[in-house]
Point group: C2
Chain length 269, copies 2
């Protein structure tokens, strides 16, 4: 591959109705598919979250914590089916916008170890990219060599694939503008961090952990921490609101926009 792939993560809270189980945000999926089609970026890998499809069922059956009881087996199946259903909706909308999307289920190609990706078969995935397809993966139920099974988050998958595929960048489309100094949904003094280096990010992380409070950034820091291994290898991550019309298009086209850019920054080699 001569051009470095773009990894696009679409948050589950963007493409589903968070408060309604198993309900897609169809107009949003359609608009994002249109923006992706118009931006016409290649090679491109899309990963989407679970939102109200994956999370409620996974939680009900305790899938993330691993295998404890035979009754969870059907719960794993149900959670995976919900993700398959959402993936099908996303892929269908992309194809409707003339994007050659191909759904790829992480459960078929990944085995994790205590929740971290331990093995991923990526030959078919790389060949799909080489031929001009847009693979569409998602947060998923996966088998785990230590705890039987677990949930693989789309964020962990995004960073892993970025490294594995030698990506040029990761774009995270979420439901707020980026990483804030506090939770923008509850704290009016919250300020958007438009640019942060890995060193500054680690300091922020340390400060928040040290304070033993819940994540003051409103959960965003946890997602950002997942991206750190990719940023460490020089792959910048751009966090944007995918809810605001045209934002995803602008990010894909490398146009100026409101958001958070995370870069490796100063080298201490």
């Amino acid at each position: 591959m001569s051009v470095k792939p773009t990894i696009l993560k679409l948050g589950g809270s963007v493409i589903t109705r968070k408060e309604k189980p198993l309900t897609p945000n169809t107009p949003m999926i359609r608009r994002l598919a249109k923006e992706i089609s118009e931006a016409n970026v290649s090679p491109l890998v899309i990963i989407h979250g679970g939102g109200s499809f994956g999370h409620p069922i996974a939680k009900e059956h305790g899938i993330k914590g691993g295998y404890k009881d035979p009754s969870q087996i059907i719960g794993f199946s149900k959670t995976h089916l919900a993700m398959l259903t959402l993936n099908r909706l996303v892929v269908a909308s992309l194809i409707n916008h003339n994007i050659p999307a191909v759904g790829v289920q992480p459960s078929s190609i990944v085995i994790s170890k205590s929740g971290r990706i331990h093995f991923m078969e990526d030959k078919p995935l790389k060949k799909l990219l080489d031929m001009g397809f847009v693979p569409v993966l998602h947060g998923d139920t996966v088998l785990d060599s230590e705890i039987g099974f677990t949930i693989l988050s789309g964020d962990q998958l995004a960073a892993f694939l970025a490294i594995e595929l030698g990506a040029g960048r990761i774009i995270m489309g979420i439901d707020v503008n980026g990483l804030y100094t506090a939770d923008p949904k509850v704290d009016p003094s919250a300020t958007l961090i438009s640019h942060i280096t890995l060193r500054e990010l680690k300091r922020l992380q340390h400060k928040i952990r040290g304070a033993k409070v819940t994540d003051v950034t409103g959960g965003m820091l946890g997602k950002v921490v997942e991206l750190m291994p990719a940023v460490e290898r020089g792959i910048p991550a751009i966090i944007i609101s995918a809810i605001k019309p045209d934002n995803l298009y602008r990010a894909l086209r490398r146009e100026k926009l409101v958001g958070t850019t995370i870069e490796k920054g100063e080298s201490f080699g």
Copy 2:
């Protein structure tokens, strides 16, 4: 795995309405799910065909013949989406009948070479089986190292998996009673072959090929030939009508029924 897995192939003409594009035979899928649930056989791998979901779109875009033109790329995506849609319906029905089904897309784990399976990642698949899940695969669009892409038939996949997983038997649920001496749909003199050895099958195949006529068995011989590599390794194949109520249940339970059994037969080692 102590008990040898059963490989169950459900024909596309059984689970879809052959004459109506993209139309599932929902009552049939539901009944078969019920019979599978009641038979309670484990370990079990299910593979289904494409029927009116896969075939019309694949044909329209010439997917089976390989990559010739960029316009086929979106056709590959559309064909795969159709199969994903059908797979989701089958998996959902199985889960409704309390079978811990997990959809596995062949396109994510297989690379073929001139139409034959060249590589298959089966670690997650084997682990699913070990944990008591029922993997549900299907005929699919796959990438091909020689011709770019092609269609992998559920029949080829069934024989390959039977060998790979050390299966005890293959059950083929189709829309006629088994292998006939002629096409039972057009020739009233057609007689059902209830038992055939590999040697007899090869003789029949030779005779039909020698006559340079179209497959007199009504297309069944082509399907049966795909199973030969598995039968060669001592894995019997049982062909039954899945349309007749209770037949699939009886086959899974090893009860007596009308159908064709193909066995290796005499050994010439």
